[in-house]
């Protein structure tokens, strides 16, 4: 079978698996969530009827009222008494919003209401998203040397592990550190600060945020009367940025490890770009370490060797 043919079959296989994965997820979500939703629906209906019975409100004016309230809710405006104090668009919140826009997290708890705001968001994101990706990749490139090459050569020399084992051990430790430092610890902090969040909710929030999915069902700093609200929001921003960087780093390290172990060739996935310009196994050759570090950090930011966000590598 020619390799061209083979790669088409592989692609079809990937796509079919992808579709099957989505359908599987759909089935599980549907089974878990639907009964809960049905029960909530019934409870709400009952509540509404009770409300109508007790009060002198007629059905149409209630419908109008509900429509307005729901619309306001969508934009983050609530008519409950204590939430009218803080605005959704003071400087810290706007900064938070700009950050979620530019990192593509996009919670949606506040969205631009005015038409100019919407148009501005489009152009702002058009420029800001690639800019963010550039900054993140630049940081990760420099961090890689610190976090990956150094420890691996140390493993090789001091402990005497062979290259494959060294990379695997290093990756496992890196993963553990990242999970502890960027999921568990922040989750503890969040569950302490936000009183309605449990620890599980907080970990769910950290995960959904750091993957830039950003559902928006949990957003920190939204409860009314939050102390030090601006400082809190800004530190969440910093957490988001650094966390994204670490996720990128882990992904990169995993990619290189998979490369070395031959997994990428097996699945015919793209190899790490840097291998083309440098040695085949840059993280293994202890002797060439310094030279590579100097070269790599002096190299101007090559767009070709970057991982852009939604492609692994070219």
């Amino acid at each position: 079978m020619s390799s061209w043919y083979k790669s088409w079959i592989l692609l079809t296989g990937f796509i079919l698996f992808y579709v099957a994965y989505l359908l599987f997820g759909a089935f599980v979500f549907s089974t878990i969530e639907r009964p809960v939703e049905d029960k909530l629906k019934r409870d709400i209906q009952v509540l509404k009827e009770e409300f109508l019975n007790q009060s002198c409100v007629n059905a149409t004016s209630l419908e109008n009222f509900l429509e307005r309230v729901l619309q306001a809710n969508k934009y983050g405006v609530s008519i409950l008494p204590n939430s009218s104090a803080s605005s959704n668009w003071d400087l810290a919140s706007s900064l938070f919003f700009a950050n979620t826009l530019v990192t593509t997290v996009g919670y949606g708890h506040t969205t631009p209401l005015s038409d100019t705001g919407k148009a501005f968001s489009i152009f702002y994101a058009l420029l800001g998203v690639p800019f963010t990706m550039l900054v993140l990749t630049a940081c990760v490139q420099r961090l890689m040397h610190l976090v990956t090459y150094g420890p691996i050569s140390m493993f090789r020399q001091k402990i005497g592990l062979d290259p494959l084992a060294a990379t695997a051990v290093h990756f496992a430790i890196l993963l553990l550190v990242v999970v502890l430092g960027f999921f568990v610890v922040p989750a503890v902090v969040f569950s302490y600060i936000e009183d309605t969040w449990s620890f599980l909710d907080a970990i769910y929030f950290c995960f959904i945020t750091l993957c830039t999915i950003g559902l928006g069902d949990y957003v920190p700093g939204e409860k009314p009367g939050q102390n030090f609200r601006s400082l809190y929001k800004i530190s969440v921003m910093v957490y988001l940025f650094v966390g994204l960087m670490m996720m990128y780093l882990v992904l990169r390290a995993f990619h290189r490890m998979a490369d070395l172990h031959g997994l990428t060739s097996f699945f015919q996935l793209p190899h790490c770009d840097e291998d083309i310009e440098e040695d085949r196994e840059p993280i293994i050759e202890a002797g060439h370490e310094d030279q590579h570090e100097v070269e790599a950090s002096a190299k101007p930011l090559d767009p070709a060797s970057q991982t852009s966000y939604n492609t692994i590598n070219r």
Partner: protein
């Protein structure tokens, strides 16, 4: 490096101040408070406390995506097709948020589902993007074989692919959404952009208005639009990277023409063989 980080931070600060200026006026707390008082004044039997509780319930239910309006004969949010759409928005990291798992089991499953789904999605999109690129390259070579203007054909092909991509993934969906969802053109294009960039606010979501009737092909069309649109966007980003790199080498050539060795290794990388 530090300069880059500083510039990035300044960019966000500038954005923040502009957003604040634009949005502060549109957000009108007082208006809603007046409405509420008006409503209360009309209905004398209603006391404030009871209504606050009612509104809290409305709020909580709208967070999980339920609407209290009208009769409750609307379809469940978590029926199979909409759960599939939700799974797709998780895996592509769009994450609208108009529906989100409210049970703990659902949340835990969501985390693991995304853990495997997101890399899978990135791999598939990457491959599809590469194939789109290969098609474009083949077309380029074919036409270059016919004419002699190498750079011109290349430029024209790139331009054509950019334009057709924009038309296919922005302009056409804009028209379809205006017709099916009843949004204005600007809202539709705002929605297209926010979805394809995977920001996914969720203030506008196609195929989820309970008051509208959608044709059967609508959700499939939406899903393919998102899939191919994302692949095309990945392609465009890669392309832009390529172009920037070429620009970089051209500038280096022009800046220091007596150092041809600089361009050497980069030239070899410029057109990596597409895995055939």
């Amino acid at each position: 490096m530090a300069l880059l980080a500083l510039a990035h931070f300044m960019y966000q600060m500038v954005g923040a101040t502009i957003f604040q200026m634009l949005e502060k006026e549109a957000e009108d707390h007082n208006h809603f408070q007046l409405e509420k008082l008006h409503f209360l004044a009309n209905c004398t039997c209603l006391d404030g406390l009871h209504m606050e509780r009612f509104v809290q319930v409305i709020r909580d239910s709208s967070k999980v995506g339920l609407s209290l309006k009208g009769n409750q004969t609307m379809d469940s949010f978590w029926k199979f097709t909409s759960s599939a759409v939700f799974a797709a928005t998780v895996v592509t990291t769009i994450g609208y948020g108009n529906m989100s798992p409210s049970t703990t089991a659902g949340q835990i499953f969501c985390v693991f589902f995304a853990l495997f789904g997101i890399p899978l999605n990135m791999v598939v999109l990457n491959r599809v993007g590469k194939y789109m690129l290969a098609i474009e390259r083949n077309a380029c070579d074919f036409i270059q074989g016919k004419t002699n203007h190498r750079k011109l054909t290349r430029f024209m092909i790139h331009l054509l692919s950019y334009l057709s991509g924009t038309a296919l993934f922005f302009v056409m969906p804009m028209v379809v959404f205006k017709q099916q969802e009843g949004w204005s053109y600007s809202q539709a294009i705002y929605y297209c952009f926010i979805s394809l960039s995977t920001i996914g606010f969720g203030d506008y979501v196609a195929d989820s208005n309970p008051d509208k009737y959608y044709p059967e092909w609508y959700s499939i069309l939406m899903a393919s639009w998102i899939f191919f649109g994302l692949a095309w966007l990945a392609l465009v980003i890669n392309h832009t990277g390529e172009i920037l790199e070429r620009l970089n080498t051209h500038l280096k050539h022009w800046w220091s023409p007596e150092e041809p060795s600089n361009a050497g290794p980069v030239d070899e990388v410029k057109e990596p063989p597409v895995d055939g």
